[in-house]
């Protein structure tokens, strides 16, 4: 029997179609809406309105700050964990890693609801009653909780790949643990840090389900803004989405391009 033969070109067609209809066309639609007015005429009014309106600028800045804080906290928690797990000789370290990653397998909305209820319980205690109004704090805790696995995994996989002989060499040559960390561990785990940062920073700028449910809808991040504009004014909504796209693009440029990064983003799990 003769197997049908496909040329590379033919095999590419489904992917090309997918990219066209699910990436390129939607992008064009957003561009189109962002630069038209309600009569569908070419217009820069949304653009001007966006950049002359302090509200929108401060919302973008505010989202970036929340996302940055979330990312830094995630990094501070995840880095030691990943390092300990990767360097330890524990037999069951896979189990510990699993425990960190496990929440990711449970429905996201359920997790946010659970943490909301948790805060409700805590704030019933008199000493904790201030908690019910601490909207920003609760939002950040929620985001850290939700995005931590995205930081742990890439860090762990990069650190696992660091060659043991480098540590041996470092010891042989008389370097202390601090020097070893700064000259071997940190530089070689940079790709992991970068992809972890990207995977936490970007969603925490837009995930308004967390800020709505934990911040009592009093914390407004850019994702919520886009959602609300799409209720009534698609053109402005598209403009906000476009600006966000640019912010994301810039941050990807910054974090991309590290050595051997491509091995990291697709994690082992």
């Amino acid at each position: 029997m003769k197997l049908p033969r496909f040329s590379r070109k033919t095999l590419c067609i489904p992917y090309a179609v997918f990219l066209l209809f699910f990436v390129i066309v939607p992008m064009c639609v957003i561009l189109f809406y962002a630069f038209t007015d309600r009569q569908m005429h070419l217009s820069f009014s949304n653009f001007l309105r966006f950049f002359s309106d302090p509200t929108k600028l401060s919302t973008i800045v505010y989202s970036i700050v929340i996302a940055l804080i979330t990312t830094v906290i995630c990094l501070l928690i995840a880095y030691p964990v990943a390092l300990i797990l990767a360097r330890s000789k524990l037999k069951k370290k896979f189990v510990i890693l699993m425990l960190f990653v496990l929440p990711m397998w449970i429905n996201f909305v359920l997790r946010v609801n659970a943490i909301r209820e948790f805060f409700n319980l805590l704030s019933q205690a008199d000493a904790m009653s201030g908690l019910s109004g601490a909207n920003i704090f609760k939002t950040i805790v929620g985001m850290v909780y939700d995005f931590l696995p995205f930081m742990v995994l890439p860090l762990y996989t990069t650190m696992l790949k660091i060659d043991e002989s480098l540590y041996e060499a470092s010891k042989d040559l008389g370097a202390g643990p601090v020097t070893t960390f700064f000259r071997i561990t940190l530089p070689l785990s940079m790709p992991g840090i970068m992809s972890g940062v990207t995977m936490v920073f970007l969603p925490s700028m837009t995930n308004y389900v967390v800020s709505d449910m934990l911040g009592n809808a009093k914390v407004t991040i850019i994702g919520k803004f886009i959602y609300e504009y799409f209720g009534s004014d698609w053109h402005m909504g598209s403009m906000v989405a476009l600006v966000l796209l640019i912010v994301v693009f810039v941050s990807t440029l910054l974090t991309g391009g590290f050595k051997s990064e491509e091995n990291v983003r697709g994690t082992d799990l």
Binding site: E117, P187, T220, F225, L254
Partner: protein, 578 residues
Amino acid sequence: MKKKRIFSIALAGAMLLPSLGLLSGCGGEDAITLRVYNWEEYIDEGGKGTFIFDELHELDENGDPIRDEHGNHIHIKSDIVDDEYKAWYEETMGHALSEEGPRVLDDFCEWYERTHGQKIRVEYSTFGTNEDMYNEIVLGNEYDLLCPSDYMIMKLASEGRLERYDESFFDETNPENYYVRNVSPFIAEKFATNGGLNVRQDPDGEDIYWRDYAAGYMWGTTGFVYNPAALEAAGIPEEELEELGWDVFTDGRFKDKITAKDNVRDTYFAALGVTYQEELMQLDKSADDYIPKLTAIFNATDEETIGTVEPTLMDIKRNIYSFETDTGKSDMVNGKIWLNYAWSGDAVYALDLAESGKSEDGEDEATAYLNYFVPEAGSNLFFDGWVMPKGANKEAAQAFVNFMSMPQNAMRNSYYIGYTSVIAGEEFEMLDYADYLYGYYPEDEFEEGEEYDEPVDYDLSYFFFGEDHGPDEYISIPAEPKQAEKRQLFAQFPTPEVIARSAVMDYYDEEASIRINELWSRVKAESLEPWTIVVIVVTVLAIVGGVLLLKFGDRLDLFRLPPKKGYEKVKEEPVSYD
């Protein structure tokens, strides 16, 4: 105006798609399809918790059916789902009523096939906000029947997106026109006069009246659910709320103890109430132009008004605990907040929930009695109605509306969702329903010698005879004074006084819509001081710089110490092992 919107938020978070809770019924090979697009949780969905099931089963305090020793449900005789009701069902559907609570949509399919000789399938999907629904329609999704609120009916009609109801639909002599024969005269008047709003024109220049485009479904008011025990504990007498009216939103004593709605329409409306309360109170309620004046104040969207309302909105934001769409009810029941700005149907639900001693998640909470009040200065009166978009299957759609308008079906829907049906009933069947729910007959309940509150007459004449009813057209039910004054009955069937001071919402035209949305985004967003923005931008730039340094760290030799004395830095040469 609905109960459960959390799921739509969740869905929207995952993808900006409408929540398609597709429940379809019946069908078959040669069935036609009726596509109905309704609010979430806005129709009887059968089974436990429905009118028929709850009435015919013995229930425990959680509303769960009690089982006998064989594990079977215990059936009981009901005063309202009585023999007459069962006979009606058998006559209409051609078979006996199942005690398990049939779904009203399934019943419609059966009824339609039976009366029209045509199989039908209902494709039922749901939306969370009027605006979501509007977007769907504009995108070109096709439906046969939608259930928007008053202002959205007007918007759709003025854009020429709706079909008119047939003349024959309004023919009262036809016994099969259940809607027009059963609808409350009060609702019919409101639909004929657009609830007192200005008349607008459709694209052909013809005047729009809701009546031509919409058949009512549910209606209600907005007001405040409050927790009298919590207020008392805080030293605020209940009576003071009436005096404060809309000002509860900005009163410092309620800081973090009150909620507003997380949508611009309702919260802007409330902010207008707060801002113009004094002016509203000074209006002469007996004057002919009272309602137009009231409506104008509550629908003002000009720049000057927005400028005046903005600081009020900021005060509201500072004072409230949260902007919510769904969490207010459970926060109310578990005592976290004292006041919740709510739609009347949700208020009934919250009051019931509190009394049952259970919070929404089923945990035991102290049994609390909640009350409801509507500000003296005036509030919102809303209507949700069935409309047919252009290209709808009018025949089937109108049959659907007629089926839902049979009083026995209106009871089922109203019972399930907690809102008030627009149906009064030819024979005042809905009066029996109101009496069954709220009628108060102490002489039957109490032994002689026991003390009890004397029942009061609760006037419902306006609903059954219209607002301008004659002196001998009087209908009332005996009610417990508290129910009449501030509890479920008062929320579900507002008093004539509340109706007389309520305004209907108009839709925002394009320019107003932009202004209001900008206002809303200013209110919702965190407004940072310019210097804070500068500081943050500098910090971000510093981080960017740091990242760049790290990124090109190799080239800059960031991770290497400078060579020690006597050593020299050499350029790395690639080593070859060949």
